[in-house]
Symmetry: C2
Subunit: 362 residues, 2 copies
């Protein structure tokens, strides 16, 4: 899922995202809550209408950004008090408030409000955080069930009247609320968090609190320890990963969904993901290189522009550098996931006689 | 002509320019001379190949930017010594050097090297500047005629091998060198400059040294005083104008070509040109406005996005604000010029029995 923090994948028009085959975007509740405000977006017909994106949208709960961006945050049983990173204004976010915000945004997938346990954290702190996330998950679900039909896209305020055309299954199941597993870097606590989150019952589950600074081998261990305790017939979403190699690896392990700012953020810093590995387009060696950014890529950037041109745009601080680099990196990620899906289908076909769902072997 | 200073119309991919119907771009020799270097562009197959733009390109001579941007410039009979605004390095630009640079860039229309007379300037200074520009025009033409066939697009260095597909008429006439009329704000000196430039003989003529801070009524007076002395069967190009109302007015007076950074630069500052006049999209009044930027515009921005969304993007410093605003403003300018051309054709049709070429009356 490409990240469109403030209702925009930085520099890329929605029609270009459609050309790339983007099926679902992630947007950040914390950022939209501060600017332009979730109530404002609701009055404008929800995110689908506001940003003219008739396809699926997942919103995070705001919790992660509160923990990573805001100042002077204070966590209590009730919720989190924090100051905006923009203007220092004081806000109080609760599980109920996070649900109301995401329903106002009109997300197709709403994330439960969780506490992202910091890294490193000791065992007692990890357990307390896990318990708080579970209590908040129950409160999230209760509020969500009572208010889920208050979606904004029937709003009379909407002039454009865009409605999501790719509701995930039965309209009665949209929006869907996903639970989030925490438990820090402790395998047994992850197992417990997963089991107790599944007991609450959600149509999908996320693994949160990873990719927060820990070594990658630890991330993999925790994912491996958690996955067996999440139902295989529900989407399993690993938050905040990763490199192209990592997303293939996690998909092999059984992860269905991932989001990451890496392809878009790296693009803005001149880093391109290609079939031959990462290249830093700002490098002087590309100044006279008339070849495409990635000879094996079929995206419209690689079809039209040279490394020399992209290097010139970057070195000259031209905005088009960000635009074209981002389009290419998204194409690379989406191609990677298309290849993963293709492999899974081949694997399912190969094992269809036994009727067992199977992911391709590494 | 949209302005693509550094071989890029800021924030807009070339394929989008093609969708908008852009037929010709202006690029700035001074900027490309400094970065990435005109010789570098030549080795990469010229601007057409470098920026993947198979349509027409006009390059300015570099003179205007030397006068407006560089530091410590010193004009002599031979040329201009100046320091780069980027790194303070010293350079010397002559009529011959400006021709060599533009031929290396592979421009379809090359501009003679001129001195842009500052405003205000007294009569003696204006005459001296005019005489220098005439001597430089003769040197420009001499060098150009001897080297015009050294275009870069047959270069073996080119991997992509893009060649201009819209050469302006006979390939033997591309590139074409245009002369530039100077003469400050003195009507009789403008007349003299025009007549003596026409005596040198060029396939097209530009009126330079206007839109440099003088009142608009003076600009119009000088254009009106100059035009009768330029042959009506050659393109007449007014440099550096203007607003949508101004370009219509100048076209009515008989101007065939114009360039201006206004649509693109204004877009980056949140100013949109619409059928209802200018609007500043950053204004809070648009925060809840679900209508299109311009209800009368058929561009892809107006077809898809709301004022509220564009306002949010601008207020949130999102790069997409610049991208979408620029696309809309270019569409508005191109639509304006399409309407002008349509009016001219109607006028020609109406007067076809008399065989007189006629521009529509105000």
């Amino acid at each position: 899922m490409p990240v469109g923090t403030l209702a925009s994948v930085k520099g890329v028009p929605q029609e270009t995202l459609e050309e790339l085959g983007v099926q679902i975007l992630l947007s950040n509740t914390y950022h939209l809550y501060l600017r332009p405000g979730t109530e404002q977006v609701r009055l404008l017909g929800g995110l689908h209408n506001f940003m003219s994106w008739p396809h699926a949208i997942l919103t995070d709960s705001g919790g992660y950004q509160v923990f990573s961006l805001s100042e002077l945050r204070k966590v209590s049983e009730e919720g989190v008090r924090f100051r905006s990173h923009l203007d220092g204004s004081s806000h109080f976010l609760t599980p109920e408030g996070a649900m109301a915000a995401q329903i106002a945004l009109g997300a197709d997938i709403v994330m439960a409000f969780d506490e992202c346990t910091e890294y490193p954290a000791d065992r007692q702190r990890t357990r307390e955080s896990l318990e708080l996330t579970l209590r908040w998950a129950r409160r999230s679900k209760k509020y969500f069930e009572e208010h889920r039909h208050e979606v904004p896209w029937g709003s009379q305020h909407s002039a454009l009247s865009i409605q999501p055309d790719e509701a995930l299954g039965d309209p009665n199941e949209t929006p869907a609320l996903f639970g989030i597993v925490q438990g820090g870097m402790e395998s047994d606590l992850r197992q417990e968090s997963a089991q107790r989150t599944v007991e609450i019952s959600f149509p999908g589950y996320a693994i949160g609190g990873l990719s927060v600074g820990e070594p990658r081998v630890l991330t993999e261990d925790i994912v491996a320890a958690t996955l067996p305790h999440l139902p295989p017939d529900r989407p399993r979403y690993l938050m905040g990963v990763g490199t192209p190699e990592e997303i293939v690896q996690y998909a092999r392990m059984g992860i269905d969904m991932m989001d990451c700012v890496l392809p878009t953020r790296a693009a803005r810093h001149g880093l391109l993901f290609t079939s031959e590995g990462k290249i830093s387009i700002k490098n002087a060696r590309y100044a006279a290189d008339n070849g495409p950014p990635d000879p094996a890529c079929g995206c419209k950037v690689c079809a039209r522009y040279s490394r020399a041109y992209l290097r010139h745009l970057y070195a000259s601080h031209e905005v088009l550098a960000m635009v074209l680099n981002t389009i290419h990196n998204l194409a690379h990620y989406l191609d990677t996931m298309r290849a993963v899906r293709h492999s899974i289908k081949l694997g399912e076909w190969a094992s269809s006689f036994s009727g067992v769902r199977s992911a391709p072997k590494p």
